[in-house]
């Protein structure tokens, strides 16, 4: 018995000639789509900042403006539903600009056949979530598409807020020495969605972390914490957010992997499915880059809010090649990279 000596080799994968689901996964494919196809066509300096929202000056007032579309399945999941997500996602994008969210729009794309009871329930949830986040839904739109052309309901929300931060918040403000804070445990939203979508039964039900982040963010700003960058951890999770900021800032970020809170049930689900919690989606978590002398105070302030009660110091920014390096539980380091697309459960 001998192994064939000639080198055989799989063919190169053809470049994607059509959109695949992974283009929406918050990873490298999505970045490539934005950089190579969208920005060249419609780019401008504000869009090119690629932050969670745009900051524009109108009549001497700095406004934050953002939009997001929600296409989640199932429509209701432990800890939330698509409507609550649509409000909090957009509110959080505004908060990440250092802004106080004011008004939202809600565009509904309904699929023929969607139950009126369910739609009513989701609209109630939309209203409740807006009230909880302190925003008003002031305009909207409703369209109906043929049966089979949608997943029951898609929701687009756009939002406007007033920027309360005096200094620009974004990757370009990140400096060596900045301390990186993480607002709480990661991975719950992604696992909750996956478990309810695929009917996976875990011993302990995992609830989404979906929540508005305005409270802790505005508290940091009001108390004069010098915040250089904020980012909520949605698709692509903590890993993708850190890599994006390292590249945007042109700085190296060093994190302590052991400091990252992951609930045991989330860790267990990730082990089972072969997923890395670092790249699992969240909807109520953020990272903040603050000046080193403000770090302890910022941590104390975050811990006074329920949504960020488990905040931790995650790491710091140092001078160097723009990349993210994590020190693991064994004391060895690994490079944190962008995910390729969506994480896929492994075979065994």
């Amino acid at each position: 018995m001998a192994i064939i000596d000639e080198i055989t080799c799989p063919l190169p994968a053809p470049a994607a000639s059509q959109v695949i689901l992974a283009h929406g996964g918050g990873g490298r494919l999505m970045h490539r789509l934005i950089e190579h196809l969208i920005l060249p066509a419609v780019g401008n300096p504000i869009l090119a900042a690629l932050h969670d929202g745009a900051v524009v000056e109108v009549g001497g007032t700095r406004l934050a403006f953002t939009t997001d579309s929600y296409v989640v399945r199932p429509l209701k999941f432990p800890g939330g539903d698509i409507a609550r997500l649509a409000v909090n996602g957009t509110v959080n994008d505004l908060a990440m600009c250092g802004a106080r969210p004011l008004v939202l729009s809600a565009g509904l794309i309904l699929e023929e056949g969607l139950g009126m009871d369910l739609l009513g329930e989701l609209m109630q949830s939309l209203g409740r979530a807006a009230a909880e986040a302190g925003v008003v839904i002031v305009t909207g739109d409703t369209k109906v598409v043929d049966r089979g052309k949608g997943d029951g309901i898609f929701i687009n929300t756009a939002g406007i807020g007033i920027v309360e931060a005096s200094d620009p918040i974004g990757p370009s403000s990140v400096r060596p020495g900045d301390v990186v804070l993480l607002s709480g445990d990661i991975g719950r939203h992604g696992i909750a969605i996956m478990a309810s979508r695929e009917g996976l039964a875990f011993e302990t039900a995992v609830e989404s972390d979906c929540a508005p982040l305005t409270g802790p963010v505005l508290h940091l700003l009001q108390e004069g914490v010098r915040v250089h960058c904020l980012r909520d951890l949605t698709r692509g999770g903590l890993g993708a957010a850190l890599v994006e900021i390292a590249r945007g800032a042109g700085q190296r970020i060093e994190i302590d992997e052991a400091a990252i809170p992951v609930r045991p049930e989330v860790q267990a689900a990730c082990e089972l499915l072969g997923l890395d919690p670092l790249y699992v989606a969240n909807e109520g978590r953020f990272i903040a880059f603050v000046e080193p002398q403000d770090a302890d105070r910022a941590l104390g302030l975050l811990r006074t809010h329920a949504v960020s009660a488990d905040a931790v110091v995650l790491g710091r920014v140092v001078t160097g090649v723009p990349e993210v390096v994590a020190t693991g539980v064994l004391g060895t380091t690994r490079v944190i990279d962008l995910p390729s697309g969506e994480q896929l459960p492994r075979i065994c």
Partner: protein, 372 residues
């Protein structure tokens, strides 16, 4: 998490690393067989805890990596058929065939679904009697019993719209093929714990004896791997070549006899092509005659003509442990997770993907991305 964090304890890991260093007197090259072990070694940086005399090379134990191009092409052809619901584990979706991958088939309208268990595919066939449900039965001895169960379930339910595309491979013949090769560098094996949970390890005695190579059945957590390496090095230093079991909390010598019985009921051993390696005799599984009605290849009467494979990537040599991924000139440049030249860069358990992900692309080398 109970019974996981205990096996990732930093101070215990460093103690093990010191113990390995203390007994190592000369260079040794060990191969971990399973892609899950490769992944854990790179993720936790276990190779960096070891003394420089110990070289870890990576084995063929990534089922996604070794599934032959021809079978991927057959999967694509079946998945493109309008009557078919094609079910697969997630990590097969991105493996390139001659004409794209399953993700692309899905994007063009093929009904491709990720399932978490072959029994989910059987349930789907029950729910969709007007469709043909096909499950891509990929994997080593670890997944074969569940896939055999799915066939038995489909038969007991009288399903005529369920079939499996069999791509099973067996680990011991691949280990023997590596040992028999003149290019073999392996001096000791860390055998795949999950595979041995099913098969046991009595079958490894002959390999250890014939090729004078220690084989340590090893688990997947950092302390498992370090203990497995310690046991392997100790044998080498003492001049022994035996089969030992590090993963005793999961593996018995005789394995899981019920799982073996189900496997043997449904499957028989057959010759099998390994992607990047070639044919290894008696290294695969095929459906036995009474179950061939569930064979998707027969049901869809496929003849797929495979395109020749270009020679740039050295996937085959990586899978045989002859080279490590960073030794490939295309690694991280022309071959990346988005534009893979070979399956080991695609799969979550592929050695190339593990190096790329945890050490970064080549420009990171020499610093934290250092490839020792």
């Amino acid at each position: 998490m109970k019974f996981v964090q205990e096996f990732r304890e930093g101070s215990a890991a460093r103690r093990y690393a010191r113990a390995i260093a203390a007994i190592t007197t000369r260079p040794w090259t060990l191969m971990e067989v399973c892609g899950g072990q490769t992944h854990a070694i790179l993720r936790f940086g276990i190779d960096r805890l070891l003394p420089p005399e110990i070289t870890l090379i990576h084995g063929p134990g990534c089922p996604v990596c070794v599934t032959p191009l021809e079978l991927i092409d057959k999967a694509l052809a079946i998945a493109r058929r309008p009557e078919v619901v094609f079910c697969s584990f997630g990590d097969m979706l991105r493996v390139p065939g001659s004409s794209g991958d399953l993700q692309g088939v899905k994007a063009l309208g093929g009904d491709v679904r990720v399932v978490y268990s072959p029994l989910d595919a059987v349930a789907l066939a029950q729910r969709l009697p007007e469709r043909e449900v096909v499950f891509f039965a990929v994997g080593f001895e670890t997944t074969a019993p569940a896939n055999a169960m799915a066939v038995l379930r489909a038969r007991s339910l009288g399903l005529r719209n369920f079939s499996i595309l069999v791509a099973h491979v067996l680990v011991p013949p691949a280990m023997e093929a590596i040992l028999a090769s003149p290019r073999c560098r392996v001096q000791g094996f860390l055998a795949a714990g999950h595979v041995c949970t099913v098969t046991g390890y009595a079958g490894y005695d002959r390999l250890a004896r014939t090729y004078r190579v220690p084989i340590v059945v090893t688990g997947f957590e950092p302390l498992d791997l370090l203990q497995g390496i310690y046991m392997c090095v100790r044998q080498l230093e003492e001049g022994r070549a035996e089969v030992e079991n590090q993963y005793a909390r999961s593996v018995r010598r005789e394995g899981n006899t019920e799982a073996q019985r189900v496997m043997a009921e449904v499957f028989e051993v057959s010759d099998r092509q390994w992607r990047g390696i070639g044919e290894i005799p008696q290294s695969g599984l095929a459906l036995r005659a009474p179950y061939r009605m569930f064979d998707a290849e027969r049901r869809f009467g496929l003849t797929v003509r495979c395109a020749a494979e270009p020679a740039e990537c050295i996937a085959g040599l990586v899978l045989q442990g002859v080279h490590t991924p960073p030794e490939c000139p295309a690694f991280g440049t022309r071959c990346t997770p988005e534009t893979p030249l070979g399956a080991p860069m695609v799969s979550a358990e592929g050695a190339c993907a593990a190096y790329y992900r945890f050490r970064g692309p080549p420009e990171g080398r020499g610093r934290d991305g250092d490839y020792r």
